[in-house]
């Protein structure tokens, strides 16, 4: 099984994440979409590490990304909570103050 299969999985995951972010009406799903995009990137890191000869670099980046994703999720959930307090909703289409 060659590099192409890994990248295909990664691309699919990325596309699913993007579509999720754009289409879903709930912020929590959008967060999940972001997590998918991050993991699509992780797959790429690991795949290129497996087929290239750059030592442990790719894997180290993947681990960083996972930690980063955890931190980001915490921050994002706090933001969502505040948005909910402010607008009494978690739908991103309704938080459009910038438009005024």
């Amino acid at each position: 099984m060659g590099l192409g299969a890994y990248i295909a999985v990664s691309a699919a995951l990325f596309a699913i994440g993007i579509v999720t972010i754009i289409t879903r009406r709930n912020v929590l799903y959008i967060l999940m979409g972001i997590e998918m995009i991050l993991n699509a990137a992780n797959i790429n890191f690991v795949a290129f590490n497996r087929f290239g000869d750059n030592g442990l670099d790719g894997r180290m980046f993947a681990i960083f990304t996972i930690i980063l994703a955890a931190a980001e999720a915490a921050v994002a959930l706090a933001v969502v909570l505040n948005v909910f307090y402010l607008f009494n909703s978690v739908k991103p289409g309704e938080a459009d103050l910038l438009r005024e």
């Binding site: 993007i18 972010i21 754009i22 991103p92 938080a95 910038l98 438009r99």
Partner: protein
């Protein structure tokens, strides 16, 4: 003993410097601490006593030195005591630098002693006379500064400083004559005083301007001459153009180099300088201020008429005598003799006791000025000295009479006072004998000297003889009238019955009815009643009383100088002191004497003897003649004077109104000036103000145009920029939806399209 009477430069200049400084310090103390210093008047009088002692002591030195024929011209540069005024240290040799020092010469010595003693007497006297006055402390301060100015004037070594103190005296006389200006409790005086002080100030100012011009001419021409003349530079290598000694010496050189003839500019300068004397010494036609100066308190009158102010003018003539050309001297003689006669005639008709004395002063000043004009500089200066004493005594006695009669000045309401005020009477009688020139009183000697100068001129026709004839007539008749009106004063005041208890003889009403020049009294004193003790001439009854001790003491001191014996002594001193060779130094003195008639210079000569005999004859005749006339008209036939007066009719009225000089001045000077002022006021209000207002309006119009431009164009441009930015912003804002997912979709779509384009190309 002799050592004490020698001039000691190390100490004496300090003493001389202390002389003007004591009254100056007194003035400063009094003016600033008058409320805290309980006995400021006594301190000042004590200071003046010290001044009198110093000046007399110093005069004794001058007398001793001149008696031995030693030169006595001292300048404090001998001991390095001098200072630079307007001094440019970058250009030390410049003659524009003023070096000022103390100058002590025989004339100054005599004058200084006179001023010192009389000022002390006036200070002492004022303690009694001015007692209870509202502005008593200020009065003492002012009279001290007045004394300071005169003392400094005498000690000035240059004519510019003389002029400075001359002006200070003008100011102080203004303040002192106007002493009652702020005192509404003086019903008659306080408006008159305001007016009289202004009159005195402005009238003397005319003369002062002349003097200033004269100083300029001397200064400029002497400097120019010195710069071009080798002889002058050799004689005076260190030339100060305004210093008296240098001016005399330079005048001599100028005339010598000019072939013994005075150049025209010296005549012109001398005439201008004489203008200063005319103003200050109240010569015709600027005499009008002096009679009105009696609106001030009587001690001030004594001060002005005797020691200061009017004496300064004659003193100036004495200082400048070597520089006066024969033409100037002729003019001086003319004005002096006119004044002597003119004022004596007026003096005969006055009823106000102080007015008689005022006109007598003018007349006597005419004598002095005429004497100087006739070349008798000794006679003029000596008469100034004797006159200072007896006139001070007369004024203070008159003040004592006024004080005793509760501020009545009209002689018609006096009479019979000799029993009630014996000491005042005796002092006044002694001084009257002196001024009338009765033999062996002081006025006898000085008038004798004046007439001698006149005869000497007469006998030597080459000296402006024509003027001497006129001077002789004026002076002899003036002396006759002097004797007459002075004894008239004595008889009206001290002899006969006391007439002061008649109701209609009220002072101010009487003077007003006489057509007196003062402004009419506001409100009659019957309805003007206040509790101020000074204004007590109505209900205190009419108990006439002798004056308090300080006043009487100063009267006695002043009267004593005029008495026979003492007068002879003074005459002896003065003859040596005021010899031209001693007054101006030997070189200049000789030159001056060479220009004078023989009899004046040398009493022992034939002409001298003859003049002396003639003068003696004339002066004795006129003195006794005046006395006899007064006895006849005022003691034996008291009904005659009014009949004579009515017989003369118009002439009498003319004399009574002082020959209408005031009216003429009023019509020719005051009214045109006032009218000119009105015209100028109109021009000021309409033309000048109109111009200024027009400029203002123009500015305002320009301003409003500028404001319009600012508001519409400049502000408009700024606002337009803002508006454009705002509208762009609003338009661009429409592009934004605020939907996050839309942005994300666009970003991804853009990314895909970019990627697709990259891959496909």
């Amino acid at each position: 003993m002799l050592g004490l009477l020698e001039f000691n430069p190390a100490l004496d200049y300090k003493l001389l410097l202390a002389v003007p400084l004591i009254p100056l310090v007194g003035y400063v103390l009094q003016i600033f601490l008058r409320n805290r210093l309980p006995h400021g008047d006594k301190i000042l009088t004590g200071g003046m006593f010290a001044v009198a002692c110093i000046t007399v002591y110093m005069a004794a030195k001058a007398i001793a030195a001149t008696h031995h024929g030693e030169p006595f011209l001292h300048h404090s540069s001998e001991v390095g005591m001098q200072f630079g005024w307007l001094y440019n240290s970058a250009n030390v040799s410049s003659q524009a630098n003023m070096i000022v020092g103390v100058f002590y010469d025989p004339l100054g010595a005599a004058m200084l002693a006179v001023v010192g003693v009389i000022s002390f007497c006036v200070h002492l006297y004022s303690q009694g006379y001015m007692h209870g006055d509202r502005r008593y402390a200020i009065f003492f301060a002012n009279i001290s500064l007045f004394t300071f100015a005169m003392l400094s004037l005498v000690l000035s070594d240059n004519i510019l400083f003389l002029f400075v103190f001359w002006e200070i005296m003008g100011l102080m006389s203004y303040l002192l004559i106007g002493h009652f200006s702020h005192d509404p409790s003086q019903p008659f005086f306080h408006r008159w005083a305001t007016w009289a002080s202004k009159k005195a100030f402005l009238t003397t100012r005319v003369g002062d301007v002349c003097l200033f011009v004269g100083i300029f001419i001397f200064y400029r021409n002497f400097r120019e001459f010195w710069a071009t003349s080798a002889a002058a530079q050799a004689a005076l290598p260190d030339f100060h153009p305004l210093r008296f000694t240098h001016m005399w010496e330079m005048g001599r050189i100028v005339v010598e180099e000019n072939g013994g003839v005075f150049p025209t500019w010296m005549t012109v300068a001398g005439l201008f300088a004489f203008g200063g004397t005319v103003g200050k010494s109240a010569q015709f036609p600027l005499h009008i201020w002096l009679p009105d100066a009696m609106a001030g308190p009587t001690p001030v009158s004594a001060m002005i008429h005797a020691a200061t102010m009017v004496a300064a003018g004659v003193f100036l003539l004495g200082r400048l005598f070597p520089l006066l050309s024969p033409d100037v001297l002729a003019v001086v003689t003319f004005f002096g003799s006119i004044t002597a006669l003119f004022a004596a005639v007026i003096g005969m008709t006055c009823y106000d006791i102080k007015a008689v004395l005022a006109y007598s002063t003018i007349s006597q000043l005419g004598f002095m000025v005429a004497a100087v004009g006739l070349g008798g500089v000794f006679a003029g200066m000596f008469h100034m000295i004797t006159h200072a004493f007896f006139k001070a005594c007369l004024f203070l006695s008159a003040g004592s009479v006024i004080h005793g009669c509760h501020h009545v000045q009209d002689m018609r309401v006096m009479g019979g006072l000799r029993k009630k005020m014996p000491i005042t009477f005796l002092c006044m009688l002694a001084s009257t004998c002196a001024i009338a020139g009765l033999p062996f009183f002081s006025g006898f000697y000085s008038k004798d000297a004046i007439l001698l100068a006149d005869w000497a001129n007469l006998l030597q026709g080459e000296f402006f003889g024509g003027w001497a004839v006129m001077a002789l007539i004026c002076l002899a008749v003036g002396a006759l009238f002097t004797s007459f009106y002075m004894f008239r004063l004595i008889f009206m005041t001290f002899f006969g019955e006391y007439r002061g208890d008649k109701k209609e003889h009220r002072y101010s009403a009487m003077l007003a009815a006489e057509g007196f020049e003062g402004p009419p009294p506001h409100g009659h004193d019957d309805d003007h009643h206040d509790d101020h003790g000074h204004d007590a001439h109505e209900d205190h009854g009419h108990e006439v009383h002798e004056s308090p001790l300080p006043m009487v003491v100063s009267l006695c001191v002043l009267a004593a100088v005029g008495l026979p014996g003492i007068a002879a002594l003074v005459n002896g001193w003065a003859e040596h002191l005021l010899e031209p060779a001693n007054m101006y130094g030997s070189a200049v003195g000789e030159w001056v004497l060479g220009r004078l008639p023989e009899g004046i210079a040398d009493h022992a000569s034939h002409i001298g003897h003859e003049s002396h005999n003639m003068a003696l004859l004339v002066s004795t005749i006129v003195a006794w003649g005046g006395l006899a006339g007064a006895i006849f008209l005022y003691l034996m036939r008291p009904d005659l004077p009014s009949r004579i007066a009515s017989k003369f009719g118009l002439a009498y009225v003319a004399v009574r109104r002082r020959f209408f000089v005031d009216e003429v001045v009023d019509a020719t000077v005051l009214r045109p000036t006032m009218r000119l002022a009105l015209v100028q006021r109109w021009i000021d209000e309409h033309v000048v103000d109109g111009l200024v207002l027009a400029i203002g309006r123009l500015g305002r119009a320009g301003g409003s145009i500028s404001a319009w431009v600012d508001r519409t164009i400049v502000d408009g441009a700024v606002n337009a920029v803002g508006l454009i930015s705002q509208s762009f912003g609003s338009a661009l804002r429409l592009l934004q939806t605020g939907r996050v997912q839309q942005y994300a979709a666009l970003a991804v779509g853009g990314g895909i399209l970019t990627a697709a384009w990259l891959i496909l190309s």
